[in-house]
Subunit: 221 residues, 2 copies
DNA sequence: CAGGCTACTGAACATATGTACAGGCGGGGT
DNA sequence: ACCCCGCCTGTACATATGTTCAGTAGCCTG
């Protein structure tokens, strides 16, 4: 499996690279910095990935794989409370930060990922699945695009969101407060009242606890 | 005035720097690239700004000045249709792109600008000005923060928005379609129905014309 | 054990890039 | 006329950085 190999060498470098890329940008991150963060020599990075650009592509592919995996998992287990936002919560933090940076740094993977998210969002809105209403608009594609951009934008701006709210919105500490506000900002017609109330209750309990999401107790993994 | 001097040397460099910074990031942009784009020698950049970091700060200060000026202008002339979105539309395109990049590259100016936008948004929401309703929420600060992040996020992700919609959302070509969808995505309670209808009508006329905002009926092109 | 393969390292190299320096050009004041 | 001063340029230099190369250690296979 890929996972076994993941724990050794190559994967450590790739994970470190994702963090460094996210922190300093593709151009700002250095091979030496990545190697240092991974605890290996700079030459090993070249040995495994050859070039910096190839390393970047490896990160892209890994992110795509994780996202697809997470999406499938969410679809199987019935998509959670506020849809996309919940999915974003699940995916690993380094992946999110790398993706957020890639969206402004520019990468083919980020582009297709965004476009896929728009298509997925449009699909869900169209055939109102699980408490999702079909919005009354004459431009559903633009609707889905804007909705996606707003969701993704909250991840891209997580640093500023977190600073303004006083808690990291990418962790369970600041996430519920942000998500609750998002539920109020967005149009009520999007979700059925029951689903809204369910999501709100779930987020409020998360807010009170300040800890892990409550879905942990239902035991899916 | 400052404007006369703006046309010569120093200002050309600063404007070129904003574009280069926006395009390649602070780290990715090079002195030589900026000088080339401005049509001057790399040494002149040093002569005027001394160091790359100082040039960056000069860009920051200029952006802050432009934003403040635009905001004041918008406040005096009665803030336009959908509030912040309209303001964003007005500010010069290079400024927006530079700001969007700075928000993810990290800069003190971008941070304070975002925080100011949140405070301004909260202020408007609190004392419902000009058709703006006070939202029914028990966490107005988070509400204002999320609303601001969503608005700003649309600018930050303008490249992806534009690709998905097939038209540049930072120009009058793609903007109305995006703004119309945003009006539908956001909660109706935010603005009074009259203001919503007014904004929608204005945007639709802009969409039909596909040209400049209706405030200037002199059709060129 | 021999051989080879893979993970890994230190040193070296070429280029890109920020920065400093010395000087030229043109105008305005004495 | 002379000189000073701001705008501007070409060149040079030190460093950062991506990349290459030769070589070592461990391990598996024959």
């Amino acid at each position: 499996m890929e996972r076994n190999e993941d724990l050794t060498g190559r994967a450590r470098i790739r994970d470190a690279a994702m963090l460094e890329f996210a922190e300093h940008g593709v151009k700002g991150a250095t091979i030496r910095g990545i190697a240092g963060a991974a605890g290996v020599s700079p030459a090993l990075v070249q040995h495994h990935f050859g070039t910096k650009e190839a390393l970047r592509q490896a990160c892209d592919e890994h992110v795509i794989a994780v996202i697809r995996e997470t999406k499938q998992e969410a679809l199987d287990g019935g998509l959670g409370d506020p849809g996309f936002l919940a999915i974003a919560m699940r995916t690993a933090l380094p992946v999110q930060r790398y993706l957020a940076r890639s969206l402004t740094d520019g990468s083919a993977a980020a582009n297709t990922l965004f476009d896929d998210a728009v298509a997925f969002s449009a699909e869900i809105l169209e055939r109102g699945t699980a408490g999702m209403n079909e919005p009354k608009t004459d431009d559903l594609h633009a609707y889905a695009t804007v909705l996606t951009a707003m969701s993704v934008g909250m991840v891209v701006l997580h640093e500023h969101l977190s600073r303004a709210l006083g808690a990291d919105t990418l962790t369970a500490e600041g996430y519920p407060r942000m998500a609750l506000a998002a539920l109020e900002v967005l149009n009520d017609d999007l979700m059925s009242p029951e689903l809204v109330e369910q999501a709100r209750a779930s987020l409020k309990s998360m807010l009170a606890a300040g800890g892990q999401p409550p879905t942990r107790s239902t035991g899916d993994r």
